[in-house]
C-alpha cells in the first residue's frame, strides 16, 4: 500500500459527454468531468439524479449509451469491471458473508496470484490502515456497522486502485459514527493519495470532505467546483438552493429594495449575509418586515422575516447573542448588501 504521502501518480479520470437512458428516462445526461489524480471528489445530488448510474458506468457495470471515459489516458470503453483498475465500495458494502475479515481483504490479492506471505503482509497493512488489525479473524456478522465499513474500505484499497468509487458508504450509519468516519475517510484519502469519488446526497458531507464537488440534477451536471465555489458562486438556481440555504429573489421581488439584479438573473442572498435591526441600518438594501419565527440554535439563530403576507419570507441567520428580546410578531428592518450576493440565471 502507498503508506507515505506522495504525489498521486495515477487516477486521472476524464468523462466526455456520458449519457445513459433507461427507456424514456435520461439517468445520466451528457456529463463531462475532468478529475485530477489524487483528488477527493464528491458527487452530490438528490436521490434519483443518476449518481449511482454514473458510478456504475465508471466501474463498468453499466454501459453508457454514448460518450467516452478514460482513466490515465486509457480508454475504458467496453473494458470489463475487473480490468479497469477501479475500486468500488458498494452502498450495502457487499462484504462476503462466508469469509473472515482477513479473507475478505485478501480476496482480490489472491485473484492476482500474489504469494501467500505477501498477501498476509498486505492484508495486515491494510487492516492496520483502517485500524482493524485486531479483528482479522472475525466473521463479518460479528462486526459493527462502522467496522464493516472499514473492512469494505480495506478490501478495496489493498488493491491500490487508480480510482476508488464510494456509493453513499456512510448513509446507513448514525450521525456520530458518520462524522467520525468522514474524518477517517478524509485522512485515509490523504495518506493513500488515491482518487476518491464519493457519492452522497448530503450537501454538508460533500462540502466538508471533498476537494471538488460535482452537483447533479436530473442526470445533468449542474456545477463542478470547490465547495467555496459552489457556495459563493453557484452556477444555477438549483445549486444555490441545494447547497446551503439561500434567499433567491427575482427583479420584481427586489424592486422594493431599490436593487436591480443583472438581466434575466436572480440574486442569491445567503442568510448569514442578511442583517436585522440596528445592524441593518448600514447596509445598502433595506426594508421593513415582521419577524415570523425564531429558531434559536445556540451559536446562532435562524429567523424568518415576512415583508408582506403574500411573499415568501426571508431567512436570516444572526449571532445567537444578538437575539436579545426579539420575539415573533415584532417589526424590524431587514438589510443586505447586493454586492455580496451571487447571481444565477433565471430559468
Amino acid at each position: 500500500m502507498a503508506g507515505m504521502p506522495s504525489a498521486a501518480t495515477k487516477g486521472r479520470l476524464r468523462l466526455d459527454r456520458i449519457t445513459k437512458t433507461f427507456g424514456a428516462l435520461r439517468a445520466v445526461d451528457g456529463v463531462d468531468l475532468d478529475i485530477e489524480a489524487g483528488e477527493f471528489i464528491a458527487f452530490l445530488g438528490p436521490s434519483g439524479c443518476g449518481k449511482t448510474t454514473l458510478l456504475r458506468i465508471i466501474a463498468g457495470f453499466e454501459a453508457a449509451d454514448s460518450g467516452r471515459a478514460a482513466l490515465d489516458g486509457r480508454e475504458l470503453g467496453r473494458l470489463p469491471p475487473n480490468r479497469r483498475d477501479v475500486g468500488l465500495v458498494f452502498q450495502n458494502l457487499a462484504l462476503f458473508p462466508h469469509l473472515s475479515v482477513a479473507q475478505n481483504v485478501a480476496f482480490g490479492l489472491e485473484l492476482r496470484g500474489h504469494a501467500k506471505e505477501a498477501i498476509a503482509q498486505e492484508v495486515a497493512q491494510a487492516l492496520a490502515l483502517v485500524e482493524l488489525g485486531a479483528l482479522s479473524g472475525r466473521r463479518i456478522q460479528q462486526l459493527s456497522g462502522g467496522q464493516r465499513q472499514r473492512v469494505a474500505l480495506a478490501r478495496a484499497l489493498v488493491l491500490e486502485p487508480a480510482v476508488l468509487l464510494l456509493d453513499e458508504p456512510l448513509s446507513a450509519l448514525d450521525l456520530k459514527l458518520r462524522r467520525q468516519l468522514q474524518q477517517e475517510l478524509k485522512a485515509l484519502q490523504r495518506r493513500t493519495r488515491t482518487t476518491f469519488i464519493f457519492v452522497t446526497h448530503d450537501q454538508e458531507e460533500a462540502l466538508s470532505m471533498a476537494d471538488r464537488v460535482a452537483v447533479f440534477n436530473h442526470g445533468k451536471l449542474e456545477q463542478f467546483g470547490s465547495p467555496r465555489d459552489l457556495y459563493q458562486r453557484p452556477a444555477s438556481r438549483f445549486v444555490a438552493d441545494f447547497v446551503g440555504e439561500a434567499n433567491i429573489r427575482d427583479a420584481a421581488q427586489l424592486a422594493a429594495f431599490g436593487v436591480r439584479p443583472p438581466p434575466r438573473s436572480l440574486l442569491v442572498i445567503r442568510p448569514e449575509d442578511c442583517a436585522i435591526g440596528a445592524a441593518a441600518t448600514s447596509l445598502p438594501a433595506r426594508r421593513e418586515g415582521v419577524i415570523e419565527t425564531i429558531d434559536y440554535i445556540g451559536p446562532h439563530a435562524r429567523l424568518r422575516i415576512g415583508l408582506d403576507e403574500a411573499a415568501e419570507p426571508w431567512v436570516v441567520l444572526i449571532h445567537g447573542g444578538a437575539v436579545g428580546d426579539l420575539a415573533p410578531g415584532a417589526r424590524t428592518v431587514l438589510g443586505f448588501d447586493p454586492a455580496r450576493a451571487a447571481s444565477v440565471p433565471a430559468q
Binding site: 457495470f61 469491471p81 458498494f90 450495502n92 462484504l95
Partner: protein
C-alpha cells in the same frame, strides 16, 4: 402464541395421530413371534438379526444406498447447473422450465412408473440400475432444484459484482462466491434427494427386476408372501435413517428452504 383452544386440540390430535403408524411398526418389530402384532407379545431382537444375516436383504439395502447416493449427487449437480442457467434466463422461460422441473410432484407416481416402463423397454434398460437411476433423477429433481434456487435467489447481486470488481473472472466468481453461498441449498438438495430415492416404492416397483432391486421394493414383495416382522424391523431401520437425515437437514439449513421459493426475488442495489 395466540392459538384458540379448538386449534390447540386439533394440533395435539394431529401430533399424536401422525406418528402413530410409525410407533406401531417399531413396536411390532420387537415381537419374538413370527406374526406382525401390536402391542408385541414380548421383546426380542430376532427380526433385526434376521435382516442383518440375510444376504438378499443386505444386497437390497446396499443397492438402495448406492442408487440413493448416485441419484442425490447427480440430481444436485444438474439442479445447480439448471438454477444457474435459469437465474439469467428471461422470466417466461424460467417459469416454464421451473414448472417442468416441479412436474413430478403433480403426476401420479403409477403413471410415471408405467411411462418409464414403456420408455425403458424401448431402450432395453429394463430391470437394471440405469433405468431405476433415471427414474429417481426425475423424481428427485423438484426436491433438489427448490432449495438450490432459493439459495441462489438470496445471493445479493452486489456480492457477485464485488467479486468482479476485485478482479474475479466469471468462473472465479462462481467458485469463490456463488458456490460457497449455495452450500445450504446444496446440502439440503443432497440430503432430500437421498431420502426421496432411498424411500421410493411406487415408480421403482415397475422398474426393478431379478438382478436389481431396492430395499423398499423388496419389503413390498416380501409382504405378499409372508407377514413376519422382519419387514417391521427393516422399516424401523428406514424410519430411523430418514428421521436422522431430516433432522440433519433441519440442523444444517432449516426446512424452510423448501417453502421459500416464491418469496421475494433478489434485491437490486439501491
Amino acid at each position: 402464541m395466540g392459538l384458540s383452544p379448538a386449534t390447540r386440540i386439533i394440533a395435539v390430535l394431529l401430533l399424536i395421530l401422525l406418528p402413530a403408524p410409525l410407533i406401531i411398526v417399531i413396536g411390532a418389530s420387537f415381537s419374538p413371534r413370527a406374526v406382525l402384532a401390536f402391542p408385541p407379545p414380548g421383546f426380542s431382537w430376532r427380526w433385526y438379526l434376521e435382516f442383518l444375516g440375510s444376504t438378499a436383504w443386505i444386497t437390497a439395502f446396499a443397492q438402495s444406498a448406492v442408487i440413493a447416493i448416485v441419484a442425490a449427487v447427480v440430481t444436485t449437480i444438474i439442479a445447480v447447473l439448471a438454477a444457474l442457467a435459469l437465474d439469467r434466463a428471461p422470466a417466461r422461460l424460467r417459469s416454464a422450465a421451473e414448472t417442468a422441473i416441479l412436474a413430478p410432484l403433480l403426476f401420479p407416481h403409477a403413471a410415471i412408473g408405467i411411462a418409464f416402463l414403456g420408455w425403458l423397454s424401448m431402450l432395453h434398460l429394463n430391470g437394471g440400475f440405469i433405468g431405476v437411476l433415471m427414474a429417481h433423477l426425475i423424481l428427485c429433481a423438484p426436491f433438489a432444484y427448490r432449495p438450490i434456487a432459493v439459495s441462489l435467489r438470496q445471493i445479493d447481486r452486489s456480492l457477485t459484482e464485488a467479486a468482479t470488481i476485485l478482479g474475479a473472472e466469471p468462473r472465479q466468481t462462481l467458485t469463490r462466491v456463488v458456490l460457497p453461498l449455495l452450500r445450504p441449498g446444496i446440502a439440503a438438495s443432497l440430503l432430500f434427494s437421498f431420502i426421496i430415492s432411498f424411500d421410493e416404492v411406487t415408480v421403482t416397483m415397475f422398474l426393478t427386476g431379478p438382478q436389481f432391486t431396492t430395499l423398499p421394493v423388496s419389503i413390498y414383495t416380501h409382504i405378499h408372501d409372508s407377514a413376519d416382522p422382519v419387514v417391521a424391523a427393516i422399516s424401523s431401520v428406514l424410519i430411523l435413517l430418514t428421521a436422522g437425515l431430516v433432522l440433519l437437514i433441519d440442523r444444517l439449513v432449516g426446512l424452510r428452504i423448501f417453502i421459500d421459493i416464491e418469496e421475494e426475488g433478489r434485491h437490486a442495489p439501491a
